[in-house]
């Protein structure tokens, strides 16, 4: 095939939270663009469903719970050399500030902020990310350009990721590893399925988005995959908003 800087041919990419939503769409798109993909999450059944939709035979499942050091270390030990890391696993617990407590805060911070930081740290320390590699964090416009009530723990966790990403993107230049983040707006995935927000409220929210609809996981995956590819070779430390204009 002719020159294609967007191709992921020959690359190996690890995607966390690949059993659902944005992570699943990202794993599928990576494989379509030629990458071998390592997918991880807790739910093995759903991971098997993702793997069944991947192209090529070089893909791998690692079942791991990222809510503790044990799971993070297990994952680090089960991967070899990577060209791409997508820190995507995340949760969203909605609680007005007066109901925030240490347990809920620690849970959100652990999965959305501490585990991506520790996973990245561990992989760098063990030199598992090759020169020319790329790391993409899935943050959110929440807490950056928009915030919705009840979302303080989530916004804090996503802001943490942005600060971390901005710093290590500079540190990792010497290792020729790029770091960036995507900031999705409201995307149609099961993340809100706990039901604190009704369907009518989601529809009302969609009406506020200039494009008048929620995003699809595939539309976030496209941004992630661009940042992983060599087409983004001069992009590091940046935040790509993908929100149908919601921040405008």
């Amino acid at each position: 095939m002719s020159y294609n800087p967007f191709s992921l041919e020959g690359k190996t990419v690890l995607v966390t939270g690949a059993s659902s939503g944005i992570g699943k769409a990202t794993a599928i798109l990576c494989s379509k663009l030629g990458a071998s993909v390592i997918i991880t999450a807790r739910n093995e059944e759903r991971l098997k469903d993702t793997v069944s939709q991947l192209e090529g035979n070089n893909n791998k499942i690692v079942v791991a719970d990222l809510s503790g050091t044990e799971g993070i270390n297990q994952l680090i030990n089960e991967v070899n050399e990577l060209d791409g890391l997508v820190n995507n696993a995340g949760i969203n617990k909605i609680l007005p500030i007066q109901f925030v407590d240490e347990h809920e805060l620690m849970n959100t911070m652990q999965i959305n902020a501490l585990s991506p930081i520790l996973l990245t740290q561990g992989l760098i320390k063990k030199k598992r990310i090759r020169k020319g590699g790329a790391i993409v964090f899935v943050s959110s416009i929440a807490g950056h350009t928009r915030s919705s009530v009840g979302n303080s723990m989530y916004c804090a966790s996503k802001g943490t990721i942005t600060g971390f990403m901005k710093c290590i993107s500079k540190e990792l230049v010497i290792k020729k590893i790029r770091c960036n983040e995507v900031l999705p707006g409201q995307v149609d995935t099961p993340i809100m399925s706990q039901g604190a927000v009704t369907e009518e409220q989601m529809t009302a929210l969609a009406a506020h988005i200039p494009m008048k609809r929620l995003g699809n996981p595939e539309e976030i995956a496209a941004g992630i995959v661009f940042l992983l590819s060599d087409a983004a070779s001069y992009i590091t430390g940046s935040s790509l908003i993908i929100d149908g204009g919601l921040s405008l």
């Binding site: 609680l95 007066q98 109901f99 039901g195 604190a196 009518e200 409220q201």
Partner: protein
Amino acid sequence: MKTLEEFVALFAEQFDDTDASEITAATEFKDLDEWSSLIALSIIAMADEEFDVALKGADVRDASTVEDLYKVICGKM
């Protein structure tokens, strides 16, 4: 198990500008001036904290009076 009266008091606590005396078991709470999506989230969080019940946004939407919501919580316990 908390009584209906205790639930009404906890319900009223989620408001800042509405006097507790304005809220009774028969109050149609969505008609209160101060009612908002943030208070709806507070009611859901209060039900979780005080009753260990996971209310959904739709439960709050479908209830009309404070007592309706108490009954939904009792039904989920």
